[in-house]
């Protein structure tokens, strides 16, 4: 049943679904937007970490006697203690601080930590070798669907192959870290975080574990994060460095800044698990997929890592026979953190690549093959529509050819596709909207903008609801003292915050209408707020401008409250989306270099609030996907246990000239009734599989593992 909270009908939307400039754009373009890294407080000290130099060992001694003599030394706190074990190079042992950043580095360098070395292992791809090193733990077999042996018998074609992708790191441009100012009982934290509302309790808990600190409660902590420079799932917690930074601030009585260095950021503050798998897949002559079987293995650090969700998207448990076995590889590398759509990019590679190989075996156009089997997905209609749309955008009919049918000359062109899904269920959120007697409107909630458009979407929601324009709205987020809202992870933010904001704004407007109704002598239910006015629908001559209407409040400020979830609050959001991406690549078969010509992306997210910000999320995700499809790889050295490329020189990312043409289509006016669904993760899933499939189509053979570097491409060609 329709409620007053529901999103306006399509014909009544003046801002929702349209293109808008990013509200925070000018501040960022001018360089005046203050990130945590930009905070430089009076008297601030600089902290550095002292970290493990061994991949596995026990701390025998920590000697700060020389460090304390370094000019500018101000203090240190232990994170680990003598006797503790370290499990990876870069593990945080202590934090030191000094009056300048250079002195802090000198202090760190003068700090001696002695380790007893213990056996280590950092390699994950060769699972037999890892097994010999006693690093492999099998997970439980997972069997679903009809009997798989019968299914193999019914298959007319099967392919068996090896597929995988290595470890990548989050490589946030603004590294992890914070400035902490502990003054009296008040602890102010300028944190680079995806969770401003969660950090106070996290920090208080961490501090209270230290008896010398005593009890700290979360309400003493104020987290301030108006802007942050990338998290991708790696910045939900205060981390050891945040707790140490606060302790140093208390110890010294000064604000302390501790932002990770680039190498620390890559070694210990990020990490997406690897995944490798032997996959067997079979179909009938007409292309009907009947069975999928995989033995996979992967690592996410010492704890290993659980099974990927395979088969992916095509996973109907009634019709598709499925068998999956997983091996958990324990390695002495920095522990994995959630990476934009955890487990999905890997599962896409382990599913969409074998499927494309099977299509080639069947001599079928993969577009037809992927469409034919859409009934095995949760959203057949969405995917069929999106595959057709995406095929049109990439020029599939004109540009696709049969595998290996790539013409003469060293440069071969190919096309490939992949499908993905994601939940994006909205997180919990509370919001307060204020209407001031001078007409000012603010939206207040302890959310955060990771650079994705939260300021803009919330401005649009409030302005649309009140009949105002984007500049009329002030959005206050990025402070833990505001009404509590969820962490930004799993594509949950836009669904949660837009709903609480919509409800709060509707409630505030109701109250204003009550006041205006008396002044205009009309019924409040007859009033509408539109085009900067509040007027009677039955008699538009009874009208006040927004400012005049608010003036009727006298000295009063209206506060409207809204929350998510709210059963009486209308149908504002949902979860579960589908998307399709197609890649057009060129491969130089003499050098193995892959060039992106174009990537087309079609994405459903229910109701699009801000078209341009949605598209930007897809552009960003696809660029990130090109990075791990072609370039990114954390390279570990077994002898030393070190990551050899914790830098932006050999930890390669693409530049603007490396990404080709990107075309994005957001599905609008088709699934709007579902309400708002998150966009962060879905488009980050498919690029690797789509690009790998395009390369296979171009050169006629599968390059088994990503990134698709020249050496891997040449090896695959040589083995063909």
């Amino acid at each position: 049943m329709a409620t007053k909270y529901d999103w306006p009908a399509a014909e009544d939307r003046s801002l929702i679904g349209k293109r808008h400039n990013r509200v925070d754009g000018p501040e960022k373009a001018r360089g005046t937007a203050k990130y945590s890294y930009d905070r430089n407080l009076d008297g601030m000290l600089y902290a550095r970490l002292v970290t493990s130099t061994v991949p596995h060992g026990r701390i025998l001694g920590i000697d700060t006697s020389n460090a304390e003599k370094v000019p500018g030394y101000k203090g240190h706190v232990n994170i680990l203690n003598v006797g503790d074990e370290v499990q990876w190079v870069g593990a945080e042992v202590l934090a030191v601080c000094a009056d300048t950043e250079e002195h802090a580095r000198d202090v760190a360098a003068a700090t001696a930590v002695h380790f007893e070395r213990l056996p280590h292992w950092v390699k994950d791809e060769d699972v037999e070798q890892a097994g010999t090193a006693n690093r492999v733990t099998p997970a439980k077999d997972d069997t679903k669907g009809p009997d798989i042996e019968e299914a193999w018998k019914s298959a007319d074609a099967t392919v068996e192959g090896y597929y995988g992708l290595g470890i990548i790191t989050h490589c946030c441009l603004e590294p992890h870290g914070q400035v902490v100012d502990w003054s009296g009982d008040e602890i102010t934290v300028y944190a680079s975080t995806q969770a401003v509302a969660r950090i106070p309790a996290d920090l208080a808990r961490g501090l209270s574990r230290d008896e010398s600190i005593g009890t700290v409660n979360a309400e003493q902590v104020h987290v301030i994060t108006p802007y942050m420079g990338g998290g991708f799932g790696s910045k939900f917690n205060i981390d050891t460095w945040g707790i140490a930074c606060a302790k140093l601030s208390k110890q010294t009585g000064k604000p302390v800044k501790l932002m990770l260095d680039r190498d620390e950021e890559l070694m210990v503050a990020g990490g997406r698990p690897s995944d490798y798998g032997k996959v067997k897949i079979g179909a009938k002559k007409d292309g009907t997929l009947v069975a999928y079987e995989a033995e996979t293995w992967s690592t996410g650090g010492v704890a290993g890592r659980g099974s990927p969700p395979v088969p992916y998207v095509y996973n109907n448990e009634e019709r598709l026979s499925q068998k999956a076995r997983h091996l958990n590889v324990s390695t002495n590398i920095g522990p994995a953190r959630a990476w934009r759509a955890p487990n999905h990019p890997q599962a896409a590679v382990l599913t969409m690549c074998p499927m494309e190989d099977l299509a080639a075996e069947l001599d079928m156009d993969p577009v037809e093959f992927f469409k034919k089997n859409a009934d095995l997905t949760a959203r057949p209609e969405v995917y069929r529509y999106e595959i057709d749309k995406c095929a049109e955008m990439i020029g599939w009919k004109d540009n696709w050819h049969k595998r290996g049918d790539s013409g003469s000359g060293p440069v071969k062109r190919g096309l490939g596709l992949s499908l993905h899904t994601w939940g994006g269920r909205p997180h919990d959120s509370t919001c307060e909207v204020r209407i001031q007697p001078d007409g000012g409107v603010s939206v207040n909630l302890a959310s955060q903008d990771l650079g994705v458009g939260t300021y803009t979407t919330l401005s649009v929601v409030a302005a649309e609801t009140l009949g105002l324009q984007i500049p009329d709205i002030t959005v206050n987020i990025g402070s833990s003292r505001l009404p509590i809202s969820g962490a930004s992870g799993g594509s949950t933010t836009v669904g949660g915050t837009s709903a609480s904001t919509r409800r709060a704004t509707v409630n505030a407007l109701e109250e204003l209408k009550g006041v205006v109704a008396d002044a205009l002598e009309v019924d409040a239910s007859d009033l509408v707020a539109k085009d900067g006015k509040v007027f009677a629908e039955s008699d538009p001559s009874k009208s006040l401008s927004w400012t005049e209407a608010c003036r009727k409040l006298g000295n009063r400020t209206i506060t409207g409250q809204g929350k998510q979830p709210d059963r009486e609050g209308g149908k504002l959001n949902d979860s579960g989306v589908g998307g399709v991406q197609m890649a057009d690549v060129s491969v130089d078969v003499e050098t193995g270099i892959v060039t992106i010509n174009k990537i087309a992306a079609v994405q459903d997210v229910g109701l699009v609030l801000c078209l341009e910000q949605c598209e930007s999320q897809v552009y960003g995700a696809v660029i990130q996907g090109i990075a791990w499809a072609l370039y990114e790889e954390a390279i570990y050295d077994q002898a030393t246990g070190k990551m050899l490329n914790p830098d932006m020189e050999f930890y390669k990312l693409p530049g603007a000239a490396d990404i080709g043409e990107l075309e994005v289509h957001m599905v609008q006016n088709k699934y709007d009734d579902r309400g708002v669904i998150g966009i962060g993760e879905p488009p980050a899933i498919s690029p690797g599989a789509a690009i790998s499939n395009a390369v296979a189509n171009a050169i006629g053979v599968r390059v088994p593992t990503l990134p698709l570097t020249p050496d891997r491409v040449l090896e695959a060609l040589a083995n063909a």
Binding site: A109, T591, Y631, D637, Q638, T640, L644, P654, T709, D711
Partner: protein, 323 residues
């Protein structure tokens, strides 16, 4: 960073006199694109840094005696913008492979020639020869970017210079100044494969600097090209580079010079490729043969077999482009 004394003299002689004859004590600062990161990583810890930025005599690019004179402190961007250098096709192609405007603007020609290796073991503090517990880490370690030629050990890194292959193929010479005066060396002789950790990858004494590079006259009619096998358009180290200079007489190659980059601890002149080219008509077939010859003696390590193919293709394509 260790504290250091900084001086920026205006004369070449005062610059070299400020340098210590002992290794590791002083450092020469040109554009700083390499030295500053080495110092931040504490791989170089000089007690004195001698900046050459105020030495005017080290600047400028000009025609000289039918050839070309490039001041040591001329930047890569100045080289690209220079009318005097514009005819040296292979050199301009090599310079344009440095795709970061920031590096081109700050990085100097001599700095490109003398930059330290990018070997990740070296940059992680395991020394030029990448040793750990008495053994080289490279042959059984992560060596996808390491040497395939001149790699009998103990050095396995690759020379990182973008410009050296082109300059050597053009017969360039370097003028070297020390406290006792100047000497001139063939540019190829500026480089060496170190045989112990106490040696460097170049033949300069610690108190010598390169003041200029000269390309002799006489190659103006030669056909030249540089081809880099580079994965990204963004600043990226090539897997392999080849610069070729061919003198063609009567439709045949009368004199060929082929120099490879990023494949050996020094810029690698390939007499095998040159022999394969001499007497042949320029073009793809000759390039193909030269490419094969260039890597015939290659000895790839455990993880860099692909570089053999990539070096071969670089030679083949450079010859074809020069043709």
């Amino acid at each position: 960073m260790q504290n250091f004394e900084y001086i920026a003299p205006t004369e070449t002689l005062s610059a070299v006199q400020a340098l210590s004859p002992d290794a590791g004590v002083t450092a020469v600062l040109a554009g700083g694109t390499d030295l500053l990161s080495l110092m931040k990583e504490r791989i170089e810890t000089p007690s004195r840094v001698v900046s050459l930025r105020n030495v005017r005599a080290l600047r400028g690019i000009s025609k000289k005696g039918g050839g070309l004179r490039i001041g040591a402190m001329a930047t890569v961007q100045e080289l690209l913008d220079s009318n005097a250098a514009a005819g040296y096709k292979s050199l301009v192609q090599a310079a344009s492979g440095i795709t970061a405007p920031q590096v081109r603007a700050m990085g100097t020609v001599a700095g490109d020639l003398l930059q330290r290796p990018r070997c990740w073991y070296y940059r992680n503090g395991y020394g030029l020869l990448a040793t750990h517990e008495g053994e080289s880490l490279v042959p059984t370690g992560e060596n996808r970017y390491h040497a395939i030629l001149g790699n009998k050990g103990p050095a396995y890194f690759v020379n990182a210079s973008s410009l050296a292959p082109a300059l050597i193929s053009l017969g360039a010479q370097a003028t070297v100044a020390g406290p006792d005066g100047e000497r001139t060396v063939d540019l190829a002789d500026l480089f060496q494969i170190p045989s112990s950790e106490s040696e460097r990858e170049n033949t300069l004494s610690p108190n010598e600097i390169v003041t200029e590079v000269t390309v002799p006259g006489g190659t103006s009619g030669w056909k030249t090209a540089t081809y880099e096998v580079r994965q990204r358009q963004l600043l990226d180290w090539p897997f392999a580079t080849a610069s070729v200079a061919l003198r063609v007489r009567g439709g045949k190659i009368a004199d060929a010079r082929v120099v490879l980059g990023h494949v050996a601890p020094i810029p690698w002149r390939s007499s095998e490729a040159e022999a394969a080219l001499n007497g042949q008509a320029p073009g793809e077939a000759a390039g193909e043969a030269a490419g094969k010859a260039a890597v015939a003696a290659a000895t790839p390590l455990s993880g860099n077999k692909a570089k053999v193919q990539l070096a071969s293709v670089a030679v083949k394509r450079a010859v074809a482009m020069a043709g």
